[in-house]
């Protein structure tokens, strides 16, 4: 499903993508990047956070498209970037390379690592790499409803203590947990 969303992302706003609108997003906004492997609901979370004002453009020097949008959380306005899917900081595909370049080059206030809660064990290594890189990570356990359905019980407090980063459970299709996520972002920025 997701790859089609990705694809349509390219068309949805492509009419207004090129040129002028890019300048609307000022350079001095605080930045949030959403990272994670494909098919975990990155784009849905991105849409939940940004609503309208989305621009889609090629990442400089590549053919990979990156969506950017704005959101207001608490008192602050943020620029949100939806990165192409990545599995690890050691890239294999062009898309992964773009995602990493983005993490390296842009001064990010928050990196939201979104994972499929069911596959936490397989996806946690990327969280560890992001923490290791000293990036301001928030871990989002998405599709938590399906994890619960198959009998998974995740102790979020414990996980936060172990990883020393905020952890939030969400369901981006229904919007469950999004407010909590926003709260954690606000807290995180205030403590910076």
């Amino acid at each position: 499903m997701n790859f089609v969303n990705k694809l349509f992302k390219g068309f949805k706003s492509s009419g207004s993508c090129c040129g002028k609108k890019e300048e609307v997003i000022e350079g001095n906004l605080r930045k949030i990047a959403i990272v994670g492997s494909p098919n975990v609901g990155k784009s849905l979370l991105f849409n939940r956070l940004t609503g309208s004002y989305v621009t889609v453009s090629n990442y400089p020097g590549t053919t990979v498209e990156v969506s950017r949008g704005k959101t207001r959380i608490g008192q602050d306005e943020f620029e949100v970037t939806d990165t192409p899917g990545m599995y690890s900081l050691l890239p294999i595909s062009e898309e992964e390379r773009v995602a990493r370049t983005l993490l390296l080059r842009e001064k990010l206030s928050i990196v939201i690592h979104i994972v499929d809660a069911k596959n936490l064990e397989r996806m946690l290594p990327l969280t560890l790499q992001l923490i290791e890189a000293n990036l301001p990570v928030i871990l989002v356990l998405n599709i938590i409803d399906e994890a619960e359905k198959i009998g998974m019980k995740i102790n979020i407090r414990n996980l936060e203590k172990d990883l020393k980063i905020p952890v939030v459970a969400t369901v981006s299709t229904t919007g469950r947990g999004i407010d909590i996520l926003k709260g954690r972002v606000e807290e995180h920025v205030r403590n910076m």
Binding site: L90, L104, R122, L128, I131, G151, M152, K153, D162, K164
Partner: protein, 482 residues
């Protein structure tokens, strides 16, 4: 900072600490991460370090080489293994698995879809009911008939002709709107009466299939076959999307990891994957001619496999490896299906509608200036060559605009009863393989560059006619009549 991932007391950790001390530049992320990436010999990071660590760079790379020599496996493997162990430990401490209560029927079904023995029949079933019955019979048959005959031919066409006759006295100008290739009688009719119902039914079927989570399973099913032609199962997704629209699918080839795979997939998409509108029209053309349908499907699949196999031999590169997340099977949500269908149809229609109108205007100008008949006459040669009647030149000329437009042209010729069974099949095969539409050509150029994009198109032009020629020859020699 994070002591989570410290692998204390071994050579890897000691080397890492040494590298961290030597690194002086600012990388945007921690020195530890950079050190780990250097140890895993990430080319981009190595050249970055080379530019930032003037004199210490050689020393760092010596440490990397030294560390590498200590292990049998690649360092990237060892590092990710340790990281996975750490992740498993953390998950083990925080996650509890309660026994499952329900019998996992979904899981059983999911496995059946992937296993070749049960997966292939399931695939055929989905193709038969989803594509052939729903799109071919219902969309391209019943709905097209209704919109075309009952709405256009009985109501709209005579009505507009009447109005135009009373307000425009010049026959020539009237031709622009209601002539043989008029804006209303051809452009709008093709778009609304032929393409719209076909594309809509296709997108409905596709959205349902997609929403269930079937596609990644299909990818796994076909992975083995695809490996033989130099692609991974991951490439199934652009291919299946190509059945919707090859232009979008070409864009999706980006998700393929190697350049080699991306080029092979682009060629196959342009050549052997018919898009939804084309597929629908071809299904309705060959309806009532099951033998012809089999020949068409057989030839196109054969070309797909053959060209894929040959290009995997020609293009150098490693055999790809495959890894993919499998989302659970779900019952499709009506609202999802509706929204997906709506956005796609809207996008597709707004793309083709102006082009169809434009095509009518171009043809009108071409007719006035004589260019149109010149072009069709030039096309007559290759058309005769593959054993088709004159009339078909026009359809192929349409095909240069868009393959679906060309297929719709064939539909008109068939309706007029100008094709024999053999000619129909040859025309369908040739047009399926034929040059992609202008939009896809531009996308090929955008994604693959001028040289490759243009090269692919020229190759396809010759290839499609050659296959048509051979098929016609074979049918004649064997004395088969379809």
């Amino acid at each position: 900072m994070s002591e989570i991932c410290k692998y204390t007391g071994d050579i890897l950790e000691m080397s890492l600490e040494k590298i961290e001390l030597l690194l002086k530049g600012d990388y945007g992320i921690s020195k530890r991460s950079i050190g780990l990436l250097l140890l895993q010999e990430d080319e981009e990071i190595i050249s970055l370090a080379k530019s930032k660590e003037a004199e210490k760079f050689t020393q760092i790379m010596e440490i990397v080489a030294h560390t590498k020599a200590h292990f049998h496996e690649p360092l990237s493997y060892i590092i990710s293994q340790r990281r996975q162990e750490e992740a498993s430990r953390i998950v083990g401490a925080s996650v509890e698995h309660l026994p499952e209560t329900r019998l996992p029927f979904k899981e059983k079904l999911s496995r059946m879809m992937i296993h070749p023995l049960t997966g292939v029949p399931i695939l055929l079933l989905i193709l038969y009911y989803g594509i052939y019955k729903f799109v071919g019979r219902f969309g391209a048959g019943i709905m097209v008939d209704f919109i075309e005959k009952d709405i256009f031919e009985k109501n709209i066409n005579p009505w507009i002709t009447q109005i135009l006759t009373s307000i425009i006295p010049w026959q020539m100008l009237r031709e622009l709107f209601v002539g043989e290739y008029g804006v209303i009688t051809l452009g709008v009719r093709y778009a609304v009466a032929l393409i719209l119902p076909i594309v809509t039914t296709f997108f409905i079927a596709f959205a349902i299939i997609e929403d269930t989570g079937y596609l990644p399973r299909l990818a796994l099913l076909i992975d083995r076959l695809f490996k033989k032609i130099g692609l991974t199962g991951r490439a199934v997704i652009p291919m299946v999307l190509g059945l919707g629209c090859d232009t979008m699918a070409t864009m999706v080839t980006r998700t393929l990891p190697t350049k080699r795979e991306r080029i092979i997939a682009t060629i196959l998409l342009a050549l052997a994957i018919p898009c939804s509108a084309q597929l629908g029209v071809i299904l309705s053309l060959l309806e009532g001619n099951p033998k012809g349908l089999w020949v068409w499907a057989g030839i196109v699949s054969l070309v797909f496999l053959l060209v894929g196999f040959l290009s995997s031999l020609v293009l150098p590169g490693d055999a790809p490896s495959f890894y993919m997340e499998i989302p659970p099977l779900r019952l499709p949500k009506l609202s999802n299906v509706f929204i997906k269908t709506y956005t796609r149809v809207k996008w597709y229609f707004s793309e083709i509608f102006p082009m169809f109108i434009l095509a009518s205007v171009c043809i009108w100008i071409g007719q006035l200036s004589g260019l149109f008949s010149l072009l069709t006459r030039a096309l007559n040669y290759p058309i005769h060559w593959i054993g088709l009647p004159d009339k078909a030149s026009v359809a192929f000329l349409f095909g240069f605009f868009r393959r679906d437009y060309g297929a719709a042209g064939l539909y008109d010729i068939k309706k007029a009863g100008l094709f024999t069974g053999n000619q129909l099949v040859v025309a369908c095969v040739t047009l399926t393989l034929f040059l992609p539409c202008i939009a896809q050509f531009l996308m090929n150029v955008k994604e693959r560059g001028w040289k490759t994009g243009l090269g692919i198109s020229v190759f396809i032009l010759f290839f499609s006619f050659s296959v048509g020629f051979l098929l016609n020859l074979a049918l004649n020699i064997l004395g088969v009549s379809l």
